[in-house]
Amino acid sequence: MLAVTHYADWIVFVIASLVVLSGALGVVTASHPVHSALFLIQTLFGVAVLFVAQGAHFLAAVQVIVYAGAIVVLFLFVIMLLGVDRREQVAAEQLKGQRPAAIVLAAVGLAELVLLARSNSWATGALSVGGAADGPGSNVEKLGRSLFSTYLLPFEITSALLVIAVVGAVVLARSPVRLSPDEQAAAAEEELAEQEQASLAAEREDATS
């Protein structure tokens, strides 16, 4: 029992990492988009656990509520709405040589990242520049203090970003403007006239050439 509590951090880390990485592999390899979305939820929960393990309690809650609760549901809605819930031939390669090239590039990038993660010479190494993460007080309190003092302006700007995103989504998803019958007739006539003019112009060009 003592050993279990001693290694609790490691056990949590290993299990959560396995959940994260297997979920990520599932997202990439699942042939059905709905399965990919469900594997994505698995990965997001695993990342939330890793957040908790590192003391980022508020972010873990936001991760579950916003990512797993809102964003993935949005994905599922779009999958259902568009009727694109069909299988994709994951094994088929359309662009020749793309797959080996992608895997080689990914291996090189991964090697670089792991090398960097292993080295200890990160950045300046300055501690607690934006305020200490440990010490007295809850994580929520410290994060709130940081957001509403140091990062107040960026925080306010995100509100503008969200409004713009909402307006953009409404404009993009709106169905084309529907014309009344009279207007439709007028538009059809205009189109006919344009076509006639175009054909006349083409004939004239033929005649001159």
Binding site: V28, P33, L50, Q54, I79, A165, A169
Partner: protein, 101 residues
């Protein structure tokens, strides 16, 4: 006994790589989008790890902003996908060659 930060960073690196490979290999636009989410999550995990390693709450604040931007990105991106594929039946990136000269 707490886990050293480099272990978390390694997991984040592997997660990022899986997301990047998925983005390169898959042709379904929605799955490509999910792979972008995977990469964003890897970066968030890196930020939180550094917040712990350098004892700096600023890392967690940045994750907050990344999440807001990711939410906005998903909304607009899915709006674009819906607008493009309203008339089409299949959603592979290979069919999108409207801009081809």
């Amino acid at each position: 006994m707490s886990v050293p930060g480099s272990f978390y960073l390694t997991v984040a690196a592997v997660l990022f790589t899986i997301g990047a490979v998925g983005l390169l290999l898959r042709r379904n636009v929605l799955v490509m989008f999910m792979c972008v989410e995977l990469m964003l999550n890897a970066v968030n995990l890196t930020f939180v790890t550094f917040a712990r390693m350098l004892n700096d709450i600023g890392g967690q604040s940045l994750v907050f902003f990344v999440m807001v931007v990711a939410a906005a990105e998903v909304v607009v991106g899915l709006g674009i996908i819906v607008a493009i594929f309203r008339r089409r039946t299949n959603a592979t990136a290979d069919d999108l060659h409207i801009l081809k000269g």
